[in-house]
């Protein structure tokens, strides 16, 4: 299960992992049962000399019940899974707890820019903090983020948070998270976005309140001028692509 490999570093992580566990148990039982019946039938009805197969049309109700009862049961379990899946979905994507902090996340080929709202907690003011490839959040605070893309479709994915949302150019997409563990976690791009898709990591630093305040005091105001460091113009993109192509050609 995910928690074997990944820390559960946000409130949604626990919720999603529980849902996954529940589905695993339900479909696991069904799967094992179906395969057991399957292999038992193969063994039980293997061809033997002098034993003829039976003629079973399967159209009579008394025969069909062997298929239709499991079938109704599948429906019942489907509904069970649905209820839980939709509840989790609702908690994560439809409704959101009130936001305590704001951050804007801007994706582009092939970098992440993070615009933290800064001490006043309002975006697009002079005390905004812009960082590239590093995002800083405070533990146990609910963040509302606004996701932008400058060029193609990207996806903001933080596996440790079980958080994933596509960034679509032309749209500002809202979401939220609440980190519950301190530490540094990977941010990945989860939608293919061109040559540098695999080289588009960022780091999400979750810190205690004291550490976070100290950091803010240190760097406040760097967002007033847009950080251009990460901007790779079209020309550069093509140059990058060209290099890649030359390498590829040389290898063929």
């Amino acid at each position: 299960m995910p928690s074997w490999f990944m820390p559960q570093a946000s409130t949604s992580a626990v919720e999603i992992d529980n849902l996954i566990l529940m589905i695993t148990v339900i479909v696991g039982v069904w799967f094992v049962a179906a395969e057991l019946v399957f292999f038992w039938l193969i063994w039980k009805f293997r061809a033997r000399d002098g034993v003829r197969a039976q003629y079973v049309a399967g159209e009579a109700k008394s025969e069909k019940k062997w298929v239709s009862y499991p079938h109704y049961a599948v429906l019942v379990f489907d509904i069970l899974i649905l209820i839980f899946a939709l509840r989790v979905w609702n908690n994560i994507k439809i409704s959101a707890p009130p936001g305590e902090e704001r951050v804007r996340i801007i994706a582009q080929q092939w970098a992440w820019t993070f615009q933290h709202a800064g001490p006043d907690n309002i975006l697009d003011t002079a005390d905004d903090i812009r960082t590239v490839e590093d995002m800083y959040v405070q533990v146990n605070r609910t963040y509302h983020f606004e996701l932008h893309s400058k060029d193609v479709v990207h996806s903001f994915s933080v596996p440790a948070f079980r958080l994933k949302q596509d960034a679509v150019p032309g749209r500002a997409i809202n979401g939220w998270f609440t980190a519950t563990q301190t530490g540094t976690f990977d941010v990945q791009c989860a939608e293919i976005c061109g040559i540098g898709h695999g080289l588009m990591p960022a780091h999400l630093h979750v810190r205690t309140a004291a550490e976070h305040q100290a950091w803010m005091a240190e760097v406040a105001g760097t967002g007033a001028a847009p950080a251009e460091a990460a901007d790779m113009g079209t020309g550069e993109v093509l140059a990058h692509a060209d290099t890649a192509r030359v390498q590829m050609g040389a290898m063929q």
Partner: protein, 583 residues
Amino acid sequence: MSAHAIAHEAHGHHEHADPGFFRKYLWSTDHKVIGMQYLFTGMFMAIIGGFTVYVFRMQLAFPGESVPGYGYVNATAYNSLITMHGSIMVFWVAMPVLIASFGNFLIPLMLGCDDMAFPKLNRLSYQIFLLSALVVLSTFFVPGGAFGGAWTSYPPLSASAAYNATPWGAPMWLIAVILEFVAFLLGGINFVTTAMNSRAPGMKMFDVPIVVWMIVLASLVFMGSVGPLVAGAIMLLFDQLIGTGFFNPNTGGDPILWQHLFWFFGHPEVYVVLLPAVGIVAEVMTVFSRKKLFAYRTVVYTALATSVISFFVWAHHQFIAGIDPRMAGIFTVTTLIISVPIAEMMFVYIATMYGGSIRLATPMLWALAFIAEFLIGGVTGIFLGASGADVYFHDTYFVLAHFHYTFFPIAFIGTFAGLTYWFPKMFGRHMNETLGKIHFWGTVVAFNAIFIPLFLAGAGGDHRRIFDYSAFPELASLQPLRQIATIALLVLIAFQPVFLFNFFYSMFRGKRATANPWHANTLEWAAPSPPPHGNFPEMPVVYRGPYEYSVEGREDDYWPQHVPPDDVTVDGPVEAPVAAGGH
């Protein structure tokens, strides 16, 4: 040609009026030849698709190492390779082999007619398909390389060379896909018309073998779902070539529109290839269990229900793509509902074995493996259909392993079941059983060894389409899983020459087959092996359903569809001597 000519030609037509190699094999309107053309083209494309996966799996397991037979893999090449692997395997392997090849070969034979309703349209369909295959292959050699925006081809990445850096590859890929769609629309219209109108006398709707039902339903699903994507592909092509802005947000277009148009087709497409495969499995399982199919009508109805519901589920591919989350809720419901008819269908297949006399010949092994493996693909789909869990699994290796557990059973296991089962009919000879079983076990074990580790990697948060994981320290511990998968892939590939050898050797040197070596009921076994041009010495008449095996009170445990009811001693056409003229 007229019926008389066909009857006349049935024996020894090779000797006189030989139309020449070109007209017979390349320009033929004979449905069997066209089926073979699709089959061999599909096999060739599968080798290309297999080579691409070999290269990029090697890169994933041993990043930065030179791949034997290819060289170093960089990011551009990696993206091109995964894109080509996906699109070739879906559009140029699964579709032609499962629908076009089996459809062409089986529909006229199983329905008891001499050819497709429109033989020339059929030939045209293959030629357009061949052109599309050539176009997509040629993109490997154009400036900029092959398209690298994944087989889903999301704009704006796919819409502009400034983003994807493949000014030739992207539009050519799209043109190839459009051509392929046109080819399958023409082919599908032909299949549907033939199955509706050209059935043998006496063959009622529920006397049609399941595999024909399934291929026809698949063609219908394709026909109904591909239209919007054809329109979308034209729009995307204009975006690429003349700079319109249908999917460009800066001019008021919308990239999400493409995602919808794509998946409106893309999800039904899964059922387009699934249905023929389950049809093949139905034929094989009944013959090798000597059993009537359990609840024939239920199978047809569940297939119909699946086909219709498949139109209602497409947006589950886009749960986190920025679509309205309330709509995502609706699509969660429809997605889980579609598991109900599919589960029922699997139950019916399992129930078919009850009371049977199961003989584990190679085709049966493949058919059983299909059920066992597809169940894994089915149950893991529940995780992805449940929107809450999909937030985590979306675009991870879990998704990849899930759809390979559906597509591999469909496109390979199902195809192998069909090929080994109908091989005697296709070429008049038997394949070698021992080699067949070696190939079976090697392939199936290796297949599981590839994708079970990838399920775990996906559960660990491993994202897809990333050519080098060194930038993600959290995922470093998953490297052994990637290596196991790659090594298993090498094993899988190593076993395929066994099949190819068996296939081509048996085609010319295999044991000769009688007309009905498996003692099956359906009409294709009433024709000689291999069937001559025109198929049947005399056109068959149908008296009963296709699965009357082990009927009580009969000496034989099978009862072919075309044998008149009063005929108690089954002989005549069924035990007809080997047809003249080998392959």
